[in-house]
Symmetry: C2
Subunit: 500 residues, 2 copies
């Protein structure tokens, strides 16, 4: 066992190094690469990806895992060894069950589909994207057949991003959430709108950047093991817990996007910086799932960064940086302004109260597509009908409707619900945290986030991919993923802000 | 042949991608890596290096090369195929003749030797480094035995950095050069010293950076395929001709180091950016040798960047940026100041007239060490005696003497002479260029360097590693590497400046 286990770890360490190098190339691509080097970066990524895949799917890996899986019954299910073997074996099965020529076909189809989507969106003409989306869906249907039958075929896609999560569970959660979130938005719409014109004045980039750095530092981001740069699309990337980098961007007519974006990415980065070194260079490094990851980013961005106690500490500092914009705005006015609720067409611009509805719409359409219960040509009409039903808005064109997101063009079906699950989990973790740290509001008012970070480090971060999301949430909160805490948080917050 | 040739190219392309990725990790290490990530970058580099080495030295590579070498007699010796096969085969032989356990031992010895050297230099105590240097030399002596016997054992080391170059040739060249360079310095020392106090005033970093960027752009550096950043030790790195990056640094009490350093690195970078795309992802990408590379960097830094015509164009621009420092300094005074000759103890701070003498001293000692004709413990005394003989100076301690350079601690014997050869080659190429472009001084006075770059592109850059240095210099200038042109350049320049 020991010999095989060490051989597996050595093999996985090399694969991790290759993947880290690919991540660094990806970071460089987005941040510092000269324009002319796109092809050359593509070559490097293709070669590293190929070698990493070959090493992982090699027969030697399979043989080691076969031998080690036979030892599982003799191991403590909570031990490092048990989890390394079982998680790696699951990854291996997924990587080897899908035929290599399918992967090539998928890469080709999505490369073309992505271009078609970009053109379709630019021209707001769904018919350009339609035949490509049909192929993407057909590929997803075929992909599912390579795996043992699940309760629902969509489970196999969901499992890619949210391991162990079932379609039925997500549907149950969303069905409970939807009517109450729709009702909350309706109630808000009947109240006078809050004032947020101060958010649309002219701000200075450097001032906002420096303030964001101050906030990230206060959250506990370790600059010895990270850095912040600019990129067109903000992201977090990590090459180990010792090198976790975030990016942000400055959009002059959305000056607060840099600040809240930095809080969001800092949340992701705190997670990655907190993964236990025991998982370094194994398949278990990094976060448990996209949903758990999003629970961290959204917690720091929303539950902390859009809370009144947070701003009771930080607002005077922000005012001092921007006296002409904020001198006459009270902290309560500021708090209401940054929490304004307004149904809108675009998911990435949605506020906390409306966001999940954008996700539910997409999940319902994805499941219907995979089940073959909807003709792709009918998708725009279905999209618009659901937008009207959930948010009371009808997109004026498909660019602002069904064509707005890149995900489907890249074949990423199964991804969207992780965003909404992240919101729900963030509130569950927060509720649990508050039960052990009732003074968190007082702590935040003095700029002290250490007990919050410490709780997340111990309960979530250190475990890396050791536990699947449902198991992890259950361990920390005593219940599975559930919308109750989030609904309580949302209604409490907005009832107060809008005087409902 | 075609099938094997394509298989070789495909194999080498993947190896090139791995090496490019390693170079990017190396760049990141020097430029943007957070402090905490050193170990993780080391892991990535070790794994990429291992896989690249394994792929290159694999039996499959050997079999392909065996088959292709048999075809060489049927190929035009100047063809792409002929050169790809023969250069790759030479690299393969070198990589496979050295046993793997020797490489491991060398890595271990030099890792420890490097630390010992750093401590020895800090304490100016050669005895700390002595036993490690003894091991390094012993390893070099053993390394040579893995190769077919050469005219001189040092040839094998030289060939690592200056392919095809013979020790006897370098000795002949240096023996011709040394007395004349010593005589030139003596003559200069009898003349009144030039005034350069304006170089030691306070300058603004941004102004110097921006001016350097202006100069690099005028030289023809393509910013679409490169970028400039800060690093502790300036360097040029390339991941293909499409991504060639330079770095510089600001030392406030040596303000002109940033400018001349940028010119130097731009020279290296112009070479790499000019390598023909036909060599991309083959063993022949990059420069022909360190000496040829240095001929380019030193040409742009010295023959162009320290010339009067260059400054007749650029000096008004520099004066405009730094009116308080340079307002009362004429262009002729400025030109004399930046060309001040003063024998000094430290190689990297040496001027054009004295630089080569530092190199000759090192070459003589390296050959004697390899031949076993000198006891390592006697090295400091030998060093100091030669310094006195060539430059009329005696180091006050070993830190400013035998311990000043990092090279030996890393096992890099055979490296130093490439610096001096670069100087000689730069003057030979310049002489040839002037014969086809007699108006170069006039062109430089109007800031036009396009004919110079174009000449180097066609004669040197595009060929990558196709020709060995002697063959390349012969093709361009009609003669092998020879000190005559450089001596003519030096004496012409300094006789005028110092009125000899």
């Amino acid at each position: 066992m020991n010999e095989a286990y060490n051989a597996l770890k050595e093999r996985m360490a090399e694969i991790a190094d290759l993947n880290h190098a690919a991540a660094l190339i990806g970071w460089d691509q987005q941040v510092y690469m000269p324009e002319g080097a796109a092809q050359e970066h593509g070559n490097m990524l293709a070669t590293l990806g190929k070698i990493s895949h070959e090493k992982f799917t090699a027969d030697e890996t399979g043989k080691l895992l076969q031998e080690l899986k036979a030892e599982l019954p003799n191991l403590d299910a909570d031990s490092e060894e048990y989890r390394v073997i079982s998680v790696t074996a699951k990854d291996y099965d997924r990587a080897t069950l899908v035929p290599a020529d399918f992967i090539v076909e998928q890469a080709q189809v999505t490369a073309v589909a992505h271009q078609a989507w970009a053109e379709a969106r630019a021209k707001s003409d769904f018919s350009i994207f339609q035949p490509h989306l049909e192929k993407v869906v057909e590929l997803a249907q075929r992909y599912v057949t390579f795996f043992p039958p699940a309760e629902h075929p969509y489970d196999t896609l969901l499992d890619l991003f949210e391991p162990g999560m079932k379609t039925a569970d997500v549907q149950t959660i969303f069905n409970q959430l939807r009517p109450q979130q729709v009702e909350l938005i309706r109630a808000i719409s009947e109240r006078p709108q809050v004032e947020d014109s101060f958010m649309h004045l002219e701000y200075d980039e450097k001032g906002m950047w420096d303030f964001s750095v101050e906030v990230a530092s206060a959250f506990g981001y370790d600059w010895q093991r990270g850095r912040q740069d600019n990129s067109a699309h903000p992201f977090t990337t990590s090459f180990s817990a010792d090198d976790v980098r975030i990016t942000t961007r400055w959009v002059s007519d959305l000056p607060y996007a840099l600040l809240f974006g930095t809080m969001h990415e800092t949340g992701h980065a705190l997670y990655e910086q907190g993964v236990g070194s025991v998982w370094n260079r194994t398949a278990l490094e990094g976060g448990a799932s996209l949903g758990i990851h999003e629970s961290q980013s959204r917690m720091w961005e929303n539950l902390v960064g859009r809370s009144l106690p947070f701003w009771q500490h930080f607002y005077p500092k922000l005012q001092k940086r921007f006296p002409s914009q904020l001198g006459n705005v009270s902290v309560e006015q500021f708090y209401r302004g940054i929490n304004k609720v307004e149904p809108s067409l675009i998911r990435v611009e949605a506020d906390e109260a409306t966001y999940n509805l954008h996700i539910m719409l997409r999940l319902e359409l994805e499941i219907a597509m995979l089940e073959g219960k909807v003709a792709i040509r009918d998708l725009p009409a279905l999209w618009n009908a659901k937008m009207e039903e959930y948010l009371g808005l009808t997109p004026p064109n498909d660019a602002k409707g069904v064509l707005q997101d890149v995900h489907w063009s890249g074949g990423m079906l199964g991804y969207f619900s992780t965003y909404a699950l992240g919101n729900l989990i963030s509130a569950q973790l927060w509720e649990k945290f508050k039960s052990v740290e009732p003074d968190i509001d007082e702590k935040m008012r003095s700029g002290d986030f250490s007990s919050l970070l410490s709780f997340m480090r111990i309960k979530i971060h250190q475990h890396g991919r050791k536990y699947e999301p449902q198991e992890l949430v259950q361990r920390v909160t005593g219940s599975k993923i559930d919308p109750t805490a989030y609904l309580g948080y949302l209604t409490g917050k907005y009832n107060a802000i809008y005087g409902i």
